[in-house]
Structure formats: C-alpha cells, structure tokens
Symmetry: C2
Subunit: 105 residues, 2 copies
Amino acid sequence: MSDAVYLALAHPVRRRVLQVLAGGPRTAGELAGEFAAELSRPAVAEHLAVLKKAGLVRDEPRGRHRHYRLTPEPLAEVADWLTPFERYWRRTLRDLAEFVEEEDV
Amino acid sequence: MSDAVYLALAHPVRRRVLQVLAGGPRTAGELAGEFAAELSRPAVAEHLAVLKKAGLVRDEPRGRHRHYRLTPEPLAEVADWLTPFERYWRRTLRDLAEFVEEEDV
DNA sequence: TTGACATGTCGGGAGTTCCCGACACATCAT
DNA sequence: ATGATGTGTCGGGAACTCCCGACATGTCAA
C-alpha cells in the first residue's frame, strides 16, 4: 500500500518518469524513447508497472497507443510523512538551542 | 548520493527509526529494543548503516554505548523534489480546468 | 486478409537487499 | 586481570530488483 509509493520513488528512472509526465500525458513509446539511451523498452515498461502499482500513474488505451498520465495523489502521503521533520532542517534559533543542549548531555 | 536518501526511505523499518530518533537520540541497543519483536539486532544495525550512508543519522560513541541522532537535512532534498507535484494534488479550479482540457485532446 | 507497428509479458541471469546466528572487539565494573 | 555488557561485522542463504532479448497480443492501414 503506502510502502509501494516509497518503493516507487527509490529508483532514479522512475522519478524522472514522473517528472516527464508532469509535463503532460505521454504514450508508452514516447516514454521509452526518453530513456532509450540508457534503458531497453521492456525495462521502461517494468518501471511503469511499478509506478502504476503505487497509484502514481494511470494508463488508458488510445487506439494503437497507450497513454500514461500522472496521478500524483499518493505523493501527498510522502509529503505528509515528511512534514514533522521539516522543523528540524528549517531550524529556528530556539530549535538550535534545544539541539545543542541535548548534544552536550 | 541523493539516491541514497530515497533508498533509505524505501524500507518501513528505516522510516520508523527516523521517527523514533525525531523524539531524541537513542543508543543502538535502545533502537534494537524497539524492533526486537520483528527484527534481530544485526538487522537493525544494518538499517542504521543505510541511514548513516544517506546522511540521515549521525552516530557518536559514548563510553560503552553508541548514540544515534537524527540529521534530517537530506530530507529537504526530497521535500524539494516533491514541491512541483504539490500543485497537482492540491488542485485549484484553474488547475483542474487545464487538466481537463489536456485530457480531452 | 495481410503486414506493420505499439505495447505487454515471459524466461532467465546478474546483482543487491534483507535477515539471521555466530564471532570479534572494546568498555566498564569488580 | 576477569567477566559481563554493548555494539559492529562476517558468512551465507533466501528473496527480490533490475535488465535484456524474445515472444504474444492487439490495433491500424492498405
């Protein structure tokens, strides 16, 4: 379930696929073309399957082609998970003080 | 490099370790104890090594123990990567209109 | 109907992850 | 010094990831 989303993001090619799809829907062939220099077509198809399983893309047949489009709702869960940590890396002075105090125990 | 962060987040135990450490530093033994019901101590140690490689935790010897603390700065990169997608899942009416238009081409 | 094209899937090989029990080492208490 | 304790690491097995070439299926054009 939610695990699938984090797993989908764990490979650089899959992250780039999402970025490409953010620019609008593409066919499977167009996507394979984007990565043809590095990856075979079946490899790209596998990555698309992983993204689909995570609910991050949806596919739809259009005649002889198949269109993939971004369905980024599952990313909201990742963003939510990240939120509590945000206060740590955007540290205020008071947070920093707490941190140093803990450090010197 | 940045790959290591996404990879670190890809395992549920490692995500939970980060959440535990958000509550303050812990020794290796305390962390292993938190997961003793599911995982052996060496397994937890391996997960800690992955987190360390990603720069998400830092460890420090304290006498006979070793303290781990959260260093969440690398998470900022993930949050930044996520930002451009945010406008898709928090869709305004105008964004929705654009989307539908694209959809019907 | 036939041929060309777009795409999904299968079989399998190489590498990696994940996990554990066992061992090694350092530190502290006695 | 000795023994107990906290921790890292090693050896290895099971499962999984990643990738490819080859094949199967379905759609369109002629």
